[in-house]
Symmetry: C3
Subunit: 376 residues, 3 copies
């Protein structure tokens, strides 16, 4: 550890281009254990007995005035003692993040709003609109199948015109996977699909309507964040390898930036797309805290094998617990600094190039894509 690249990354205010909020409540042990896994709180298997659990005890405990590797009970007792507001303040501040882009479309729990998150962290927050949420709200309000296409587009446009919105997001990965017809569906196809969906109800998972949603994102003109790879068990992992998007990426070349989120274990596949399509970018958010600082570098090494240095972004994809902002940022800084510094030390890379790459990945690439203007 250490060295000038680490110092530069430690001092850099990160742009976390994709995250959620933190739960605005004190958590029970079960509640906390539910939030620190993509699985669930299983009887007889503590969520702490995992790479992320070990990383929390190592890297978050000291911020709560506990010894490194404090046991879970002690950690949770201290967390309760401090109260969630103070815990959030300490961990979010420690993440050293200057800007958050907050996906506000998934909140089974009561989460901080972007302004609340920004205030706690002493940072700026922008909003990312989840398009599936917009579509489902349109359906919930009641709409005729003939009108669904226009109504969704109008609602999406309205949603992204609110102040502070910088991007849209799709969780098509969870709904259909990416093995879709890449073409924009016709109006008649959308009406027909809407007829079935609106009758049937439930979440938006019709392939035609998911395609319509992706093409609506293109029309909106904002950067599109796409969940790819790792997630909870609602994913069919082999269907969210981002290379299934290749035909769609051909059709959308020259339009909006497409940001592949998470990617693991397909970070090499995502890197390939970022290397051959001008409008494609990637991050390894979510992965960073789940694998922890012990493996973040290995994942970043693969993500960067062929990736143009303008194409890697940082995100935490933190949800629910403030620990994930801290861990994501730490794993990113350590992992990236480690790999760059070693290349500098081996004379494979100049120090000035290494510093530039670090700054690009940690902040400038996101600024270039999102063109933030003024506080949200």
């Amino acid at each position: 550890m250490g060295g000038p690249v680490q110092e530069a990354l430690d001092a850099l205010e990160l742009v976390d281009h994709h995250c959620h909020g933190v739960v605005t409540a004190d958590l029970t042990r079960e509640g906390f254990e539910e939030l620190i896994t993509e699985g669930a709180a299983w009887p007889g298997i503590s969520s702490f007995d995992s790479p992320v659990g070990v990383a929390i005890r190592r890297h978050c405990a000291p911020l709560l005035d506990l010894p490194r590797h404090a046991p879970p009970d002690q950690y949770l007792a201290r967390r309760a003692e401090l109260g969630h507001n103070e815990v959030h303040r300490r961990l979010l501040t420690a993440s050293g993040t200057g800007t958050f882009c907050v996906d506000t479309g998934y909140a089974p729990d009561r989460l901080t709003t972007p302004p609340e998150l920004a205030e706690t962290a002493g940072a700026t927050a922008y909003e990312v609109v989840r398009l599936e949420g917009v579509a489902e709200t349109v359906a919930a309000k009641g709409v005729e199948p003939d009108d669904y296409g226009d109504a969704f587009q109008a609602a999406a446009l309205e949603a992204v015109q609110r102040p502070g919105v910088v991007a849209v997001k799709s969780v098509a990965a969870y709904r259909t996977g990416f093995d879709l017809d890449p073409a924009r569906p016709s109006d008649a196809e959308v009406t027909e699909a809407a007829r079935h969906w609106l009758t049937r109800g439930g979440r938006l998972d019709d392939p035609v309507l998911v395609r319509h949603l992706l093409w609506t994102a293109v029309d909106l003109g904002l950067p599109l964040q796409l969940h790819t790879g790792f997630g909870d068990n609602d994913i069919r992992l082999h269907r969210v390898d981002p290379t299934h998007l290749t035909d769609w990426l051909h059709l959308t070349t020259g339009t909006i930036p497409v940001l592949l989120l998470h990617c693991w274990p397909y970070q090499r596949q995502a890197a390939y797309l970022a290397a051959v399509f001008e409008h494609v970018y990637l991050d390894v958010g979510l992965t960073l805290h789940y694998v922890g600082p012990a493996r973040a570098r290995a994942v970043l090494e693969e993500a960067l094998e062929i990736t143009p240095f303008r194409k890697l972004l940082y995100s935490s994809d933190a949800y629910g617990v403030a620990e994930f902002y801290r861990l994501g940022a730490l794993a990113f800084r350590r992992g990236l600094a480690g790999l760059l510094q070693d290349r500098v030390d081996a004379d494979e890379l100049s120090l000035s190039d290494a510093l530039r790459i670090a700054e690009w990945a940690g902040a400038h690439n996101a600024r270039r894509v999102y063109r933030f203007s003024g506080p949200s």
Copy 2:
């Protein structure tokens, strides 16, 4: 090498939760070379010229009183001189395995029975029933299509009620791959499929009957071992990515433990399933000896990236030659100790946590899944 984690793992009696037996005969050079590859003994290409061949000469030769890296001729001459019984005794004992779970359903060669293996190794052995073998025996004995479903279930139940049986296994990977309809087939579907299969003959590779077999495993209530990933050229590797099982895993949640065997090169995909499904476990058996101690750690690092520490098990998947028990155990102990000790040294993990993880993966996780009771 060295350090307290290595010491602890060296001293730990492993549970090898999936292996076969050793050939009870002295082997010719060709016979030996056939057994140390997933390919075949090819003219002009010695099986010794491979990672596993190098590992045998390095780590098994000294146990036969030869210098490290002894050439193949010398190795095989000494092996013949000692005789297979003595070779087996030395290599099996050196594996430090206390418990074996032996898949008895694949034996193109005359292999040791579980009690013979146990006696040679000074260990305890349990049995794993290969369900495809049970089905094929039912067919071979003669059964009407209408009766096949019940007859197979009855035979499977009888097989697992024999003393010492702790699990069942399926090689669906070899027969159909995992891209199957996940639903339990109806009785009518089973009868119809049995009609075709019983007429046609051959091994069980009908997709409906393979699904019926997997659901029969659920009914039996014992842990189910599933071959995934790496094997011989009878595999279509892309069809045995275990994430193709996701829908079936949803349907079987809350039933039997499912143990994903081998997994390579899909160890990350298997780890994902183990992280998001309570009943899923994994190992990297077979892989460990084929990649050898030089790469076992790298594979384990990927297998453990997000895996809950209660979900990784040890197996050798040794078949035929006693060398594979020795190499699997050595590669596992070295690989796991190396990665854990380095994390301890980097203060990413406490020593007590590292020792606990080592013990869990090497023995306790298997004990928890299989609930061994008394000697077999």
Copy 3:
């Protein structure tokens, strides 16, 4: 770095079993940036800001009398000053390649012929015939659908009987991917498919005709090079995982050598095929220079995890710029030497075995497959 394995590999005349030629012209900055990416020269993102760009500045600049890590402007100015002939001479000579097998079937730019390349490098060059090019020439000359099959076979036979031809190549990966019916198509199927293709025109991408092409390669009896994995955005990456070829490899067992090129990110899948099919070989060409010396070892480690040592070959897959010959050779020598020497130092491998493996992979395996006889 350093040690006896590195010294041996540095001294070894490599056989580069798959490459193209270099552009016989001085290049503009845009022209150069187009050639050093599998993407394109994008406005605002320099191709130099990538792993391969960094590697060029580090490892090629000194050969042009510039300091290591010279900036792109300085690099290109010096390149222009020296002129392409001198640049090619310096970089090709520095690659230390004794034999090139040159795919002459892809030349959107004016490239060196094999003899020109050989002369510049002070080496020997053989030719590899790209079968899609032969088929498209047959079509361009005009042929009746009924005659297409025979005409293509005759043209292919004529092409490979020219002096210096040692292999054929297919880019089926770019045309259909590998998820093809493995069987040899009937004459009637070929005629019918040719009828459509010859009417429609365009490049050969009909699945029946691609299958016919692959089977024609089998009939020709020469080694067949197959592009797999990484390439430009004309690839659908998930469809060029080489394990999709498994059924075809079963049908072609005992016929021609099949050489899987590039492979990344499917190097483990390719290694599996090389381990279980006698006639399958692999390289990680193209990948080596794109990932650069900083990651070539990691890719080679995966490629060699289970690969028999007789099955790995070296190729640069260099196209267009002489830098890629230099970088490919350097990345291969450093990567392979590093991994072998570390195994020797850890006493996992004897030095004599390491030297043998290095020589096999760098030259002898290719000699064994291609049976070069006399200069081209």
